[in-house]
Symmetry: C2
Subunit: 340 residues, 2 copies
């Protein structure tokens, strides 16, 4: 079932059928109708491969995320979707699951499909050969949620150092002198910067930040970190926990509640991302909000601009500012004690 069949049925040439589909205004109304009728009668569907082969590039862009089950990324995806659709491109969602091999495989297949461009949160943003090749061969790439100074690609990110600082200042202001940081691994730059931002802010008021590193940023790892914290002797126990993301924070909250620790009276908790479930937790979580949908929208706009402008496009590195949302989980003023 191809364009020639339609042409035969409508008693015109293949070129005319193509014109009806792509430049209807150049075809005489009567002919156009005959062709459209034939298309409907035969149930003809365009062959995108053939169009693409002829055109040289597709009409799709891809978003490669680290973890499809993390609400942070699904919100980024929703932001990207809208812009892509408005720009006439289809958005393909791919999940690397934090696995370099799977990420590479996705990039291979996407490049073979000649996608217009790729939005990606790479597993490893410093030594990513596969990604560098992709860029070098001319596929537009925008880094999402990863700051960068590279001249050959755009990036959109959120200032993680500032996010950490906001959390640190908030906890210091509420009278906390000893705070735990739960999350990891710290080899991930995001995690490290959030930690460092908070540590610096706390140090300014003479408070300290203790690192409880986890294997990943999941609910289960949050529970583990909470157990480690709760088992410290009372005198050395932190009075607050700042978590690398909300999944970890939810794990901490759950484990602490299970152990009868009152939140926020005995322990304050601050998360990161402000996913929907942060507010919906039975003790609503204080969290550092990232403009997730905005991140997706802006990244897609940058990508589509590069696709449209080609050589004229100027690569940009956009950094958004996070925002602290104070909720019940940390909203309690601690009586300041003498430092031991």
């Amino acid at each position: 079932m191809n364009i020639k069949e339609v042409a035969r049925q409508a008693k015109v040439s293949a070129g005319t059928v193509s014109n009806v589909l792509n430049k209807p205004e150049v075809v005489a109304p009567a002919t156009r109708k005959r062709v459209l009728d034939a298309i409907a009668a035969l149930g003809y569907v365009r062959n995108e491969s053939a169009r693409m082969l002829r055109a040289g590039s597709s009409r799709t862009i891809a978003l490669v995320v680290l973890d499809i089950a993390n609400p942070f990324f699904t919100d980024v995806a929703r932001g990207a979707e809208g812009v892509a659709e408005a720009g006439g491109s289809q958005l393909l969602l791919c999940n690397s699951g934090q696995n370099q091999r799977r990420e590479d495989r996705h990039l291979d297949l996407l490049e073979q499909q000649r996608v217009q461009g790729v939005l990606i949160t790479p597993v490893d943003d410093s030594h990513n050969t596969r990604l560098d090749e992709l860029v070098a061969r001319g596929t537009p790439v925008v880094l999402v949620d990863r700051g960068s100074k590279r001249r050959d690609r755009c990036s959109v990110a959120v200032d993680d150092m500032l996010g950490g600082r906001l959390a640190g200042l908030h906890l210091a202001e509420r009278g906390h002198r000893r705070v735990a940081f739960a999350g990891g691994p710290v080899s991930i730059r995001q995690v490290l910067e959030r930690h460092d931002g908070a540590a610096k802010a706390l140090a300014e008021s003479g408070a300290e930040l203790l690192l409880f590193e986890t294997d990943s940023t999941s609910v289960a790892d949050g529970r583990k970190a909470a157990a480690a914290i709760a088992e410290l002797p009372a005198t050395r126990r932190p009075t607050a926990v700042f978590c690398a993301n909300d999944l970890v924070a939810l794990g901490v909250l759950q484990e602490m509640t299970r152990r009868g620790v009152r939140v926020p009276q005995d322990l304050a908790i601050v998360g990161y991302d402000d996913i929907e479930f942060a507010e919906a937790a039975a003790i609503p979580l204080t969290s550092v909000r990232q403009p997730r949908e905005q991140l997706g929208r802006t990244a897609t706009e940058l990508l589509l601009d590069e696709v449209a402008s080609g050589e004229r496009h100027k690569h940009r590195h956009i950094v958004f500012e996070p925002e602290l949302v104070v909720r019940a989980s940390s909203n309690h003023r601690r009586r300041t004690r003498a430092v031991t």
Copy 2:
């Protein structure tokens, strides 16, 4: 940068390059090496459009979900991913956002791309012309999380009536005589069956189920339903709430906690889906667990079988059984009172 460039560089014909890529064993080792070197030197990447055009069909399958932000669907996606990858197909994730127009548009584009098949939770499963056309023209389709008796496609679903029944029996056994159902709209078959299953089970012990219909199954709507329930006069107030899904249940939990209602002592809550956040809630949610990843895996297996077997394939309708997971939010025995 095409196969001919590579051929020229390696001083062979285009056909030989193609053979190196597709049937390396028929090419002499020395020639093969020359070609592979040329490919590496030029950074050649296969053109999938041309392959597909030649082959007639692609190597991708699509999963079209109702809401990418609902953890239920992301878990289904993870199940599907694994099987697709093992079968050598790439999985494309598309989001309809419960919007029929967007679903139709995705199906248009997917059919134009000649995907191998489509896994879909349709917005409307009774009068879906676009989907019927797709099937009629020969694209394999598997309905996900939607029961069906249709002879022209497979389906995988979970027994919602039974899920409702499990929740109803559990609450009746815990001594509840008046239970609320929160969720909607009831025009969605899933929601209605969960309600009916619970209503029937409760009726068997002389208890009743009051419907609090919502516009959709989101956290925000759960909060609204909770407000409506809490404002009933004490004598008519239910002692338990069964929710159409966990998002609604989290909303109910949050609003009730805010109002000082103790869960589960004053009010028991049962959710549906058993998403990760159900267990991670500060008061862990009792929930009806659906085998989400299993759903994705089985659906993909059925699809790949149809792709491979063609005419020989027998369409099947698989129904899984849900399972009640009892946690703190309902784990409290109510003192039975005389019925008023």
